[in-house]
Amino acid sequence: MLKQTEGSKAVAEAIALCRPEVICAYPISPQTHIVEALGEMVKSGELPKCEFINVESEFAAMSVAIGSSAAGARSYTATASQGLLFMVEAVYNASGLGLPIVMTVANRAIGAPINIWNDHSDSLSQRDSGWMQLFAETNQEAVDLHIQAFKLAEELSMPIMVCMDGFILTHAFERVDIPSQEQVDAYLPPFDPRQMLDPAEPISIGAMVGPEAFMEVKYLAHAKQLQALELIPQLAAEFKQTFGRDSGGLVRTYRADDAETMIVAMGSVLGTIKDVVDEMREQGHKVGVLGIISYRPFPLQQVREALVNCKRFLVLEKSLAVGMGGIVATDVRMAVRGTGLKGYTAIAGLGGRPIPKTSLHKLFLEAEQESLEPVTFVDLDWDAVNKQLERERQNRHSGPIAENMLHDKGMSTAAKFG
């Protein structure tokens, strides 16, 4: 059913349609609206046969999900940013134990400085955690990916994060088609756990594994994610059959057929990029787009195929490997190794910095002209940065960076809109 609704609410409805049995909730912006909505549904009886547990931390949220999943219940939680970091130990544990937990990550920056706005630092910090990560471009896709995620996770007995841009998607009211319960039931079978804590058949889960078998265990997790590379497109195809929509999959291209310059990105910024590309196409620039939906497993082959015919590519990412550069870009470059393609990295939108079309126009043109530095920081206030660097060169005790910069920029502590 078509609805004009908030992204978080739409996702909550989608989760409810997946008949979760245990939901762990701990508040952190910007995922709060999702679990709030689910909590209300459980309490009102709209979502029956579900335990909604208000835990005392994200670490507990993931731990409760570990317990409930191991005991055979379809388990869900949501988090973001610091919350994800606070549960990291349990995040790795859930994947290590092969528990098919689904978790929404409402992507948000990581402090310090504390910042509640969107970028991809949080989930990308968990790229090696053994979890799958799917990135939604729109709220419709966020809805659809969650439905696919349960099926994918349970098929492989591996946990999955569905990543959606905090605020930009979670708090956006837009048109979403919410499927019917019948449709979801037809697509998603009941949870049939691969192993379960059960007095009828006792097992010991979570053994200590020494050097003699640890590598094999880790390889098997890797092998599972490689299987996911085949399964994800299959599930997307099945999804289309049931729901009549293209959603999910590993990657998605836009106007890429004859593109000479390809823009690679993840998440909601793809919408803005597509608008810019349309405008540039009108002006005759051969620009195309590659959206990556499956960040983990990373579809090396599909990315290579999408890029191999262009002349250059630019990875625009909302994340920064401090001391190195791009995070997604590194993987993309790995995908095109040996092709001789020119690749650029653009770091944009950190901590909720708007990514306006104007900036992208300029950036893409420079990419097309191959005049970019290998790593570009989009809309960085070089003036403020350079002043601070200079101060630090001169004085070891130069004071807090953020305050200095605000002073330099002539801002009061009250934030500007936008």
């Binding site: 092969g98 192993q195 010991s204 889960i205 094999e216 265990v217």
Partner: protein, 541 residues
């Protein structure tokens, strides 16, 4: 498990593949130690063994276990001076287990319920003559009969029981109790000939066709002391007094009776004459704590109004008075005269200075050795004359009923072996279970049960039994105070406290076994065994 995650998920209980027994440097082993009560029992009773059955309320089984060694529990429960209780480890915890009272309870219960001994073994075809129907003779007769031998007791007196009847007053041992236990022995098929004094043992054996003989004639001749006495002085011996109590003619001792001596017999006489209305005074040359009589007997006598002159000797006896001299203990604890005299009223003087044995039946018997008026016997209780064994008061020993009963049992076993042409080999003694071997934490605090005593007026005026018995509840309580020193009572502690589940419980009565495949040798089972029935032994590494 094939479909479960590799390595992270494991099958339950698979650690059984890991044999941790290899860690061990010492291993626990079960053992039996000799409980101190058993060790101290002159009758060789397995006290702990029969208490075990009493603990669960199975009194018949307890009685049967008891009479394996001693056919006279009801008697024993009254007259035994219970060295078992003195040795009892529980004495170091609170107070010793009231073994004697439980024994009496079992004995009385057996009489009340009419329990009979188990039938004798197959007849051996051998005949044994037992001379004397005292505790030793009756004990030997009982054991021999149960071993399948034909036994005849020849008793010089008119009734069976020996010193149990003629030496111990009724108020300590009611005669119906004695009669019942004697009868039960006779019921085994033992022949008792009363008023049948054996004049010559070889002759008697030959006449009766006996293959062996056990002599237990006792010591019935009262010792005399040299007391200057006038003609009118009335001096009798204690044994005669006590013996005459069993007949029609009660002794005529007058009102003031001086009893001379400090042993149990002296006390018995004094308490007896008190009950006859006289005023007894015991005169003893040493102090109360040096007196051979049991202190509780002295205490009971004092309670009943018996007077006692400690540190006194009789210097002279007249027709209605005696002169005593005060004594003082020297450095070595011996009494020495002080030259201080006192006169006491005395209608009669009873000498309780010990007894001698009438050895006339042995006259002319070759091979015998007599020393200090007693017959010398080998460790197997045989006299120097083959086939003739002796025991009880007539051989060198502490002269108590319990010792006598023990002699009878020991002699019977040896006679049996001798008759079969073998030698009796007693089972090797286990090491003693000492208090240090126990973990007494596991025993509940429980003070000894006090036996009821007859009220003082009736004690002074009647021959009713002074000390009562325990009722069933108190007997059970008392039995359960047993610590089972040195022998597993299946408390399951080893089975429970093993952190490695390395103890197998074999089921009731079957005790336990170690699983040495897993036992790491921590020693917890040893430390926490209440009764000291496990010990650590170094591994041979």
């Amino acid at each position: 498990m094939a479909n479960k995650p590799f390595a992270i998920t494991l099958k339950p209980g698979t650690s059984l593949n890991n044999l941790t027994g290899s860690w061990r440097t010492a291993r626990p082993v079960y053992l039996d130690r000799l409980p101190p009560c058993n060790n101290a029992c002159p009758a060789g009773e397995d006290i702990q063994g029969w208490l075990f059955h009493a603990e669960s309320g199975d009194y018949e089984q307890a009685w049967r276990a008891l009479v394996e060694n001693n056919p006279l529990p009801a008697v024993m429960g009254r007259v035994c001076y219970h060295p078992c209780e003195s040795a009892c480890n529980r004495g170091q915890l609170d107070s010793s287990v009231g073994i004697n009272s439980v024994e009496r309870f079992l004995g009385d219960e057996a009489i009340r319920r009419g329990w009979k001994f188990a039938a004798a073994a197959a007849a051996s075809g051998k005949k044994v003559l037992v001379v004397g129907a005292g505790p030793s003779g009756l004990s030997a007769a009982y054991h021999l009969a149960r071993m399948g031998h034909k036994v005849e007791i020849q008793e010089a007196g008119p009734l069976a029981g020996g010193m149990m009847r003629f030496g111990i007053p009724k108020y300590r041992l009611p005669r119906e109790v004695l009669d019942a236990e004697v009868q039960r022995i006779l019921d085994l098929g033992v022949t008792l000939k009363l008023n049948c004094k054996v004049a010559h043992i070889e002759q008697s054996m030959q006449d009766g066709g006996f293959d062996a003989a056990f002599l237990a004639v006792g010591a019935h001749i009262g010792k005399r002391a040299m007391i200057p006495a006038g003609d009118a002085a009335h001096i009798v011996d204690a044994v005669s007094v006590l013996r005459s109590m069993e007949g029609e003619d009660k002794p005529m001792l007058g009102r003031k009776v001086v009893v001379y001596g400090g042993g149990n017999t002296a006390v018995d006489v004094a308490r007896t004459v008190k009950r006859m209305g006289a005023e007894p005074i015991i005169v003893y040359r040493r102090t109360r704590d040096k007196a051979p009589a049991h202190d509780f007997e002295i205490e009971e006598a004092l309670q009943e109004g018996v007077m006692i002159k400690w540190l006194s000797t009789i210097k002279q006896a007249g027709d209605s008075s005696i002169t005593i001299e005060k004594m003082a203990l020297d450095d070595k604890g011996f009494p020495q005269p002080t030259g201080e005299f006192e006169t006491l009223e005395a209608d009669s003087v009873v000498l309780a200075l010990g007894q001698d044995v009438d050895l006339s039946l042995l006259d002319g018997l070759p091979g015998l050795e007599i020393k200090n008026g007693t017959v010398q016997v080998a460790p197997n209780m045989m006299t120097g004359h083959a086939g003739i064994f002796a025991g009880g008061d007539m051989v060198p020993s502490e002269r108590t009923v319990t010792v006598a009963v023990g002699h009878g049992k020991k002699a019977a076993r040896n006679i049996d072996a001798w008759l079969r042409g073998t030698a009796y080999q007693p089972a090797p003694k286990h090491e003693l279970a000492e208090a240090g071997n126990l973990n007494t934490w596991y025993y509940s605090d429980a003070d000894k049960t006090v036996r009821p005593m007859l009220d003082i007026i009736r004690r002074q005026t009647s021959f009713d039994e002074v000390q009562g018995g325990l009722d069933e509840t108190t007997a059970l309580f008392e039995a359960r105070r047993c610590l089972s020193c040195g022998n597993c009572f299946e408390c399951d502690n080893c089975y429970g406290v093993c952190p490695d589940n390395a103890v197998i419980k074999l089921g009731p009565g079957k005790r336990f076994e170690f699983k040495y495949d897993y036992c790491k040798g921590c020693g917890l089972c040893v430390a926490e065994c209440p009764c000291g029935a496990i010990k650590m032994v170094p591994e041979d590494i």
